[in-house]
Symmetry: C2
Amino acid sequence: MAAPLAKEQILDTAEEVLRRFGLEKASVVDVARALGVSHGTLYRHFPSKSALREAVGERWLKRVSIPLAEIVKESGSSMEKLQKWFQTLIHTKRSKAIEDPELFSMYNALAEESVEGITAHINELIQQLTEIIEEGIRKNEFKRSDAGQVAAGIFYGTARFHHPALAKEWTSPNIDEEFRLVWNLLLSGLKF
Amino acid sequence: MAAPLAKEQILDTAEEVLRRFGLEKASVVDVARALGVSHGTLYRHFPSKSALREAVGERWLKRVSIPLAEIVKESGSSMEKLQKWFQTLIHTKRSKAIEDPELFSMYNALAEESVEGITAHINELIQQLTEIIEEGIRKNEFKRSDAGQVAAGIFYGTARFHHPALAKEWTSPNIDEEFRLVWNLLLSGLKF
Protein backbone atom coordinates (compact mmCIF):
# COMPACT_ATOMS: atom_id res chain seq x y z
CA MET A 1 0.00 0.00 0.00
CA ALA A 2 1.31 3.44 -0.92
CA ALA A 3 2.18 5.97 1.80
CA PRO A 4 -0.62 8.49 2.41
CA LEU A 5 -0.34 11.66 0.39
CA ALA A 6 0.98 14.65 2.29
CA LYS A 7 -0.61 18.02 1.55
CA GLU A 8 2.79 19.64 0.94
CA GLN A 9 3.72 16.94 -1.57
CA ILE A 10 0.49 17.55 -3.50
CA LEU A 11 1.10 21.28 -3.53
CA ASP A 12 4.73 20.84 -4.70
CA THR A 13 3.51 18.70 -7.57
CA ALA A 14 0.59 21.01 -8.35
CA GLU A 15 3.06 23.89 -8.59
CA GLU A 16 5.27 21.97 -10.99
CA VAL A 17 2.29 20.99 -13.13
CA LEU A 18 0.89 24.52 -13.20
CA ARG A 19 4.31 25.76 -14.17
CA ARG A 20 4.76 23.19 -16.93
CA PHE A 21 1.27 23.40 -18.50
CA GLY A 22 0.30 26.94 -17.57
CA LEU A 23 -2.58 28.20 -15.46
CA GLU A 24 -5.20 27.68 -18.19
CA LYS A 25 -4.32 24.17 -19.31
CA ALA A 26 -3.25 22.38 -16.11
CA SER A 27 -5.94 20.07 -14.71
CA VAL A 28 -6.40 18.04 -11.53
CA VAL A 29 -5.96 14.93 -13.68
CA ASP A 30 -2.49 16.17 -14.70
CA VAL A 31 -1.57 16.63 -11.03
CA ALA A 32 -2.87 13.15 -10.10
CA ARG A 33 -0.91 11.61 -12.98
CA ALA A 34 2.32 13.39 -11.92
CA LEU A 35 1.80 12.08 -8.37
CA GLY A 36 1.03 8.55 -9.61
CA VAL A 37 -2.35 8.48 -7.84
CA SER A 38 -5.93 8.33 -9.05
CA HIS A 39 -8.06 11.34 -9.75
CA GLY A 40 -10.34 10.20 -6.87
CA THR A 41 -7.48 10.04 -4.35
CA LEU A 42 -6.53 13.60 -5.15
CA TYR A 43 -10.12 14.78 -4.91
CA ARG A 44 -10.26 13.44 -1.34
CA HIS A 45 -7.61 16.07 -0.46
CA PHE A 46 -8.81 18.85 -2.72
CA PRO A 47 -12.51 18.60 -3.56
CA SER A 48 -12.27 20.82 -6.65
CA LYS A 49 -9.79 22.27 -9.09
CA SER A 50 -10.41 25.68 -7.58
CA ALA A 51 -9.66 24.35 -4.06
CA LEU A 52 -6.30 23.06 -5.32
CA ARG A 53 -5.50 26.34 -7.09
CA GLU A 54 -6.47 28.30 -4.02
CA ALA A 55 -4.18 26.18 -1.84
CA VAL A 56 -1.23 26.81 -4.19
CA GLY A 57 -2.00 30.55 -4.10
CA GLU A 58 -2.27 30.57 -0.31
CA ARG A 59 1.05 28.78 0.07
CA TRP A 60 2.67 31.44 -2.12
CA LEU A 61 1.32 34.19 0.16
CA LYS A 62 2.56 32.29 3.24
CA ARG A 63 6.07 32.20 1.76
CA VAL A 64 5.93 35.99 1.84
CA SER A 65 4.34 36.42 5.28
CA ILE A 66 6.16 33.77 7.38
CA PRO A 67 9.70 35.27 7.14
CA LEU A 68 8.15 38.68 7.95
CA ALA A 69 6.47 37.27 11.08
CA GLU A 70 9.93 36.12 12.22
CA ILE A 71 11.22 39.70 12.01
CA VAL A 72 8.39 40.96 14.24
CA LYS A 73 9.58 38.58 17.00
CA GLU A 74 13.25 39.64 16.84
CA SER A 75 14.79 41.77 19.57
CA GLY A 76 16.42 45.13 18.85
CA SER A 77 15.37 48.62 17.80
CA SER A 78 11.83 48.96 16.46
CA MET A 79 13.02 51.33 13.71
CA GLU A 80 15.55 48.74 12.55
CA LYS A 81 12.86 46.05 12.60
CA LEU A 82 10.51 48.25 10.60
CA GLN A 83 13.21 48.86 8.01
CA LYS A 84 14.21 45.19 7.88
CA TRP A 85 10.54 44.16 7.52
CA PHE A 86 10.10 46.39 4.44
CA GLN A 87 13.47 45.49 2.95
CA THR A 88 12.53 41.80 3.27
CA LEU A 89 9.04 42.27 1.80
CA ILE A 90 10.37 44.26 -1.13
CA HIS A 91 13.40 42.03 -1.69
CA THR A 92 11.27 38.85 -1.64
CA LYS A 93 8.77 40.19 -4.17
CA ARG A 94 11.35 41.87 -6.36
CA SER A 95 13.68 38.88 -6.57
CA LYS A 96 10.82 36.52 -7.45
CA ALA A 97 9.41 38.96 -10.02
CA ILE A 98 12.77 39.53 -11.70
CA GLU A 99 14.14 35.95 -11.56
CA ASP A 100 11.04 34.30 -12.96
CA PRO A 101 8.41 36.81 -14.15
CA GLU A 102 6.11 34.10 -15.55
CA LEU A 103 5.98 32.14 -12.32
CA PHE A 104 5.49 35.38 -10.39
CA SER A 105 2.51 36.34 -12.57
CA MET A 106 1.08 32.84 -12.22
CA TYR A 107 1.27 32.90 -8.44
CA ASN A 108 -0.29 36.33 -8.28
CA ALA A 109 -3.08 35.31 -10.63
CA LEU A 110 -3.73 32.26 -8.41
CA ALA A 111 -3.68 34.36 -5.24
CA GLU A 112 -6.05 36.90 -6.83
CA GLU A 113 -8.63 34.18 -7.47
CA SER A 114 -9.40 34.38 -3.77
CA VAL A 115 -10.34 37.92 -2.69
CA GLU A 116 -10.73 36.67 0.91
CA GLY A 117 -7.25 35.13 0.71
CA ILE A 118 -5.67 38.41 -0.45
CA THR A 119 -7.58 40.44 2.13
CA ALA A 120 -6.52 38.08 4.92
CA HIS A 121 -2.90 38.27 3.69
CA ILE A 122 -2.86 42.09 3.65
CA ASN A 123 -4.53 42.24 7.07
CA GLU A 124 -1.90 39.83 8.40
CA LEU A 125 0.93 42.01 7.06
CA ILE A 126 -0.62 45.22 8.47
CA GLN A 127 -1.10 43.43 11.82
CA GLN A 128 2.61 42.53 11.85
CA LEU A 129 3.52 46.17 11.17
CA THR A 130 1.11 47.30 13.88
CA GLU A 131 2.95 45.11 16.41
CA ILE A 132 6.33 46.62 15.46
CA ILE A 133 4.92 50.15 15.74
CA GLU A 134 3.14 49.47 19.07
CA GLU A 135 6.41 48.16 20.47
CA GLY A 136 8.26 51.26 19.21
CA ILE A 137 5.70 53.52 20.89
CA ARG A 138 6.02 51.58 24.18
CA LYS A 139 9.80 51.89 24.00
CA ASN A 140 9.56 55.64 23.23
CA GLU A 141 11.24 55.15 19.86
CA PHE A 142 8.17 56.34 17.94
CA LYS A 143 5.73 59.19 18.51
CA ARG A 144 2.46 58.22 20.20
CA SER A 145 -0.14 57.52 17.46
CA ASP A 146 -2.78 55.01 16.40
CA ALA A 147 -0.37 52.18 15.52
CA GLY A 148 -2.89 50.36 13.31
CA GLN A 149 -3.60 53.48 11.24
CA VAL A 150 0.10 54.28 10.86
CA ALA A 151 0.78 50.66 9.88
CA ALA A 152 -1.91 50.77 7.17
CA GLY A 153 -0.64 54.18 5.98
CA ILE A 154 2.95 52.93 5.62
CA PHE A 155 1.82 49.73 3.91
CA TYR A 156 -0.41 51.45 1.34
CA GLY A 157 2.04 54.35 0.95
CA THR A 158 4.73 51.91 -0.21
CA ALA A 159 2.42 50.02 -2.61
CA ARG A 160 4.50 51.14 -5.59
CA PHE A 161 7.36 49.00 -4.28
CA HIS A 162 5.53 45.79 -3.35
CA HIS A 163 2.17 45.62 -5.17
CA PRO A 164 2.58 42.80 -7.74
CA ALA A 165 0.61 44.72 -10.40
CA LEU A 166 3.50 47.22 -10.49
CA ALA A 167 6.26 44.58 -10.75
CA LYS A 168 7.40 45.65 -14.20
CA GLU A 169 8.51 49.03 -12.79
CA TRP A 170 10.80 47.42 -10.18
CA THR A 171 13.66 47.16 -12.68
CA SER A 172 13.78 50.97 -13.03
CA PRO A 173 17.25 52.30 -12.10
CA ASN A 174 15.56 54.93 -9.88
CA ILE A 175 13.39 52.56 -7.86
CA ASP A 176 15.58 52.47 -4.73
CA GLU A 177 15.93 56.26 -4.69
CA GLU A 178 12.16 56.62 -5.11
CA PHE A 179 11.61 54.25 -2.20
CA ARG A 180 13.98 56.32 -0.05
CA LEU A 181 12.02 59.52 -0.80
CA VAL A 182 8.67 57.91 0.06
CA TRP A 183 10.08 56.17 3.15
CA ASN A 184 11.58 59.40 4.55
CA LEU A 185 8.26 61.21 4.25
CA LEU A 186 6.24 58.34 5.73
CA LEU A 187 8.65 57.96 8.65
CA SER A 188 8.50 61.64 9.52
CA GLY A 189 5.05 60.79 10.91
CA LEU A 190 6.61 58.28 13.31
CA LYS A 191 9.85 59.90 14.41
CA PHE A 192 10.16 62.46 17.18
CA MET B 1 -11.49 71.61 -52.28
CA ALA B 2 -11.96 70.17 -48.79
CA ALA B 3 -10.86 72.17 -45.73
CA PRO B 4 -7.42 71.13 -44.46
CA LEU B 5 -7.48 68.46 -41.80
CA ALA B 6 -6.98 69.75 -38.25
CA LYS B 7 -4.88 67.62 -35.92
CA GLU B 8 -7.57 67.65 -33.23
CA GLN B 9 -10.17 66.43 -35.72
CA ILE B 10 -7.93 63.52 -36.73
CA LEU B 11 -7.33 62.60 -33.10
CA ASP B 12 -11.06 62.77 -32.27
CA THR B 13 -11.79 60.42 -35.15
CA ALA B 14 -8.84 58.15 -34.29
CA GLU B 15 -10.21 57.86 -30.75
CA GLU B 16 -13.65 56.91 -32.02
CA VAL B 17 -12.18 54.33 -34.41
CA LEU B 18 -9.92 52.83 -31.74
CA ARG B 19 -12.87 52.65 -29.44
CA ARG B 20 -15.13 51.00 -32.03
CA PHE B 21 -12.66 48.46 -33.43
CA GLY B 22 -10.34 48.00 -30.44
CA LEU B 23 -6.65 48.67 -30.10
CA GLU B 24 -5.57 45.55 -32.02
CA LYS B 25 -7.86 45.80 -35.05
CA ALA B 26 -8.09 49.53 -35.75
CA SER B 27 -5.93 50.65 -38.69
CA VAL B 28 -4.92 53.97 -40.22
CA VAL B 29 -7.11 53.04 -43.21
CA ASP B 30 -10.13 52.83 -40.87
CA VAL B 31 -9.34 56.30 -39.53
CA ALA B 32 -8.93 57.75 -43.04
CA ARG B 33 -12.22 56.18 -44.13
CA ALA B 34 -14.05 57.61 -41.10
CA LEU B 35 -12.63 61.05 -41.94
CA GLY B 36 -13.54 60.70 -45.62
CA VAL B 37 -9.94 61.30 -46.73
CA SER B 38 -7.35 59.17 -48.46
CA HIS B 39 -4.84 57.03 -46.68
CA GLY B 40 -2.11 59.27 -48.15
CA THR B 41 -3.65 62.47 -46.78
CA LEU B 42 -3.70 61.01 -43.30
CA TYR B 43 -0.11 59.80 -43.61
CA ARG B 44 0.98 63.40 -44.28
CA HIS B 45 -0.18 64.23 -40.75
CA PHE B 46 0.86 61.01 -39.05
CA PRO B 47 3.65 59.18 -40.87
CA SER B 48 2.92 55.82 -39.23
CA LYS B 49 0.26 53.94 -37.34
CA SER B 50 2.44 54.14 -34.24
CA ALA B 51 2.75 57.95 -34.60
CA LEU B 52 -1.05 58.21 -34.66
CA ARG B 53 -1.44 55.91 -31.66
CA GLU B 54 1.21 57.83 -29.77
CA ALA B 55 -0.57 61.12 -30.46
CA VAL B 56 -3.85 59.70 -29.11
CA GLY B 57 -2.03 58.46 -25.99
CA GLU B 58 -0.31 61.83 -25.49
CA ARG B 59 -3.58 63.71 -25.76
CA TRP B 60 -5.03 61.46 -23.07
CA LEU B 61 -2.13 62.33 -20.74
CA LYS B 62 -2.58 66.05 -21.50
CA ARG B 63 -6.22 65.82 -20.46
CA VAL B 64 -4.92 64.74 -17.07
CA SER B 65 -2.06 67.25 -16.75
CA ILE B 66 -3.62 70.48 -18.12
CA PRO B 67 -6.33 70.92 -15.42
CA LEU B 68 -3.63 70.21 -12.80
CA ALA B 69 -1.38 72.93 -14.25
CA GLU B 70 -4.28 75.37 -13.77
CA ILE B 71 -4.40 74.55 -10.05
CA VAL B 72 -0.68 75.34 -9.67
CA LYS B 73 -1.37 78.89 -10.93
CA GLU B 74 -4.30 79.56 -8.56
CA SER B 75 -3.92 81.90 -5.61
CA GLY B 76 -4.57 80.76 -2.04
CA SER B 77 -3.00 78.51 0.55
CA SER B 78 -0.34 76.08 -0.73
CA MET B 79 -1.73 73.28 1.45
CA GLU B 80 -5.18 73.74 -0.08
CA LYS B 81 -3.65 73.75 -3.56
CA LEU B 82 -1.71 70.57 -2.79
CA GLN B 83 -4.88 68.88 -1.60
CA LYS B 84 -6.92 70.12 -4.56
CA TRP B 85 -4.20 68.96 -6.97
CA PHE B 86 -4.32 65.39 -5.61
CA GLN B 87 -8.10 65.34 -5.34
CA THR B 88 -8.30 66.39 -8.99
CA LEU B 89 -5.71 63.85 -10.16
CA ILE B 90 -7.39 61.03 -8.29
CA HIS B 91 -10.92 62.09 -9.21
CA THR B 92 -10.03 62.39 -12.92
CA LYS B 93 -8.44 58.94 -13.07
CA ARG B 94 -11.02 57.26 -10.89
CA SER B 95 -14.04 58.63 -12.72
CA LYS B 96 -12.63 57.64 -16.11
CA ALA B 97 -11.65 54.18 -14.84
CA ILE B 98 -15.05 53.51 -13.27
CA GLU B 99 -17.28 55.08 -15.96
CA ASP B 100 -15.63 53.33 -18.88
CA PRO B 101 -13.04 50.73 -17.81
CA GLU B 102 -12.42 49.52 -21.39
CA LEU B 103 -11.66 52.99 -22.73
CA PHE B 104 -9.49 53.67 -19.68
CA SER B 105 -7.45 50.50 -20.30
CA MET B 106 -7.13 51.39 -23.98
CA TYR B 107 -5.80 54.88 -23.26
CA ASN B 108 -3.35 53.55 -20.74
CA ALA B 109 -2.15 50.85 -23.13
CA LEU B 110 -1.64 53.55 -25.79
CA ALA B 111 0.18 55.83 -23.37
CA GLU B 112 2.40 52.94 -22.25
CA GLU B 113 3.56 52.33 -25.80
CA SER B 114 5.72 55.40 -25.36
CA VAL B 115 8.04 55.10 -22.36
CA GLU B 116 9.39 58.59 -23.08
CA GLY B 117 5.83 59.93 -23.16
CA ILE B 118 4.99 58.41 -19.75
CA THR B 119 8.29 59.58 -18.25
CA ALA B 120 7.73 63.12 -19.55
CA HIS B 121 4.18 63.07 -18.15
CA ILE B 122 5.30 61.95 -14.68
CA ASN B 123 8.13 64.49 -14.66
CA GLU B 124 5.63 67.20 -15.60
CA LEU B 125 3.31 66.21 -12.74
CA ILE B 126 6.19 66.10 -10.22
CA GLN B 127 7.36 69.51 -11.50
CA GLN B 128 3.89 70.94 -10.86
CA LEU B 129 3.94 69.55 -7.32
CA THR B 130 7.45 70.96 -6.81
CA GLU B 131 6.16 74.45 -7.68
CA ILE B 132 3.33 74.18 -5.15
CA ILE B 133 5.74 72.99 -2.45
CA GLU B 134 8.36 75.66 -3.24
CA GLU B 135 5.68 78.31 -2.93
CA GLY B 136 4.52 76.84 0.39
CA ILE B 137 8.10 76.93 1.70
CA ARG B 138 8.51 80.57 0.57
CA LYS B 139 5.25 81.48 2.31
CA ASN B 140 6.30 79.62 5.49
CA GLU B 141 3.38 77.22 5.19
CA PHE B 142 5.66 74.20 4.79
CA LYS B 143 8.88 73.15 6.49
CA ARG B 144 12.08 73.96 4.60
CA SER B 145 13.05 70.87 2.53
CA ASP B 146 14.17 69.82 -0.94
CA ALA B 147 10.86 70.57 -2.71
CA GLY B 148 11.64 68.32 -5.68
CA GLN B 149 12.39 65.33 -3.45
CA VAL B 150 9.29 65.90 -1.34
CA ALA B 151 7.19 66.25 -4.52
CA ALA B 152 8.50 62.93 -5.88
CA GLY B 153 7.97 61.27 -2.48
CA ILE B 154 4.34 62.40 -2.27
CA PHE B 155 3.68 61.43 -5.88
CA TYR B 156 5.14 57.91 -5.59
CA GLY B 157 3.75 57.47 -2.07
CA THR B 158 0.21 57.95 -3.40
CA ALA B 159 0.70 55.60 -6.40
CA ARG B 160 -1.93 53.19 -5.04
CA PHE B 161 -4.56 55.89 -5.66
CA HIS B 162 -3.58 57.09 -9.14
CA HIS B 163 -1.43 54.46 -10.89
CA PRO B 164 -3.65 53.06 -13.69
CA ALA B 165 -2.38 49.49 -13.12
CA LEU B 166 -4.17 49.56 -9.74
CA ALA B 167 -7.46 50.94 -11.09
CA LYS B 168 -9.49 47.86 -10.23
CA GLU B 169 -8.88 48.49 -6.51
CA TRP B 170 -10.33 52.02 -6.67
CA THR B 171 -13.88 50.71 -6.18
CA SER B 172 -12.95 49.35 -2.73
CA PRO B 173 -15.19 50.86 -0.02
CA ASN B 174 -12.05 51.61 2.03
CA ILE B 175 -10.10 53.45 -0.64
CA ASP B 176 -10.82 57.00 0.62
CA GLU B 177 -9.95 56.06 4.20
CA GLU B 178 -6.71 54.41 2.99
CA PHE B 179 -5.83 57.57 1.08
CA ARG B 180 -6.41 59.65 4.21
CA LEU B 181 -4.03 57.45 6.24
CA VAL B 182 -1.27 57.66 3.61
CA TRP B 183 -1.83 61.39 3.06
CA ASN B 184 -1.59 62.21 6.80
CA LEU B 185 1.73 60.39 7.08
CA LEU B 186 3.19 61.94 3.92
CA LEU B 187 2.10 65.45 4.97
CA SER B 188 3.71 65.14 8.38
CA GLY B 189 6.98 65.57 6.48
CA LEU B 190 5.80 68.96 5.20
CA LYS B 191 3.91 70.47 8.10
CA PHE B 192 5.53 72.36 10.98
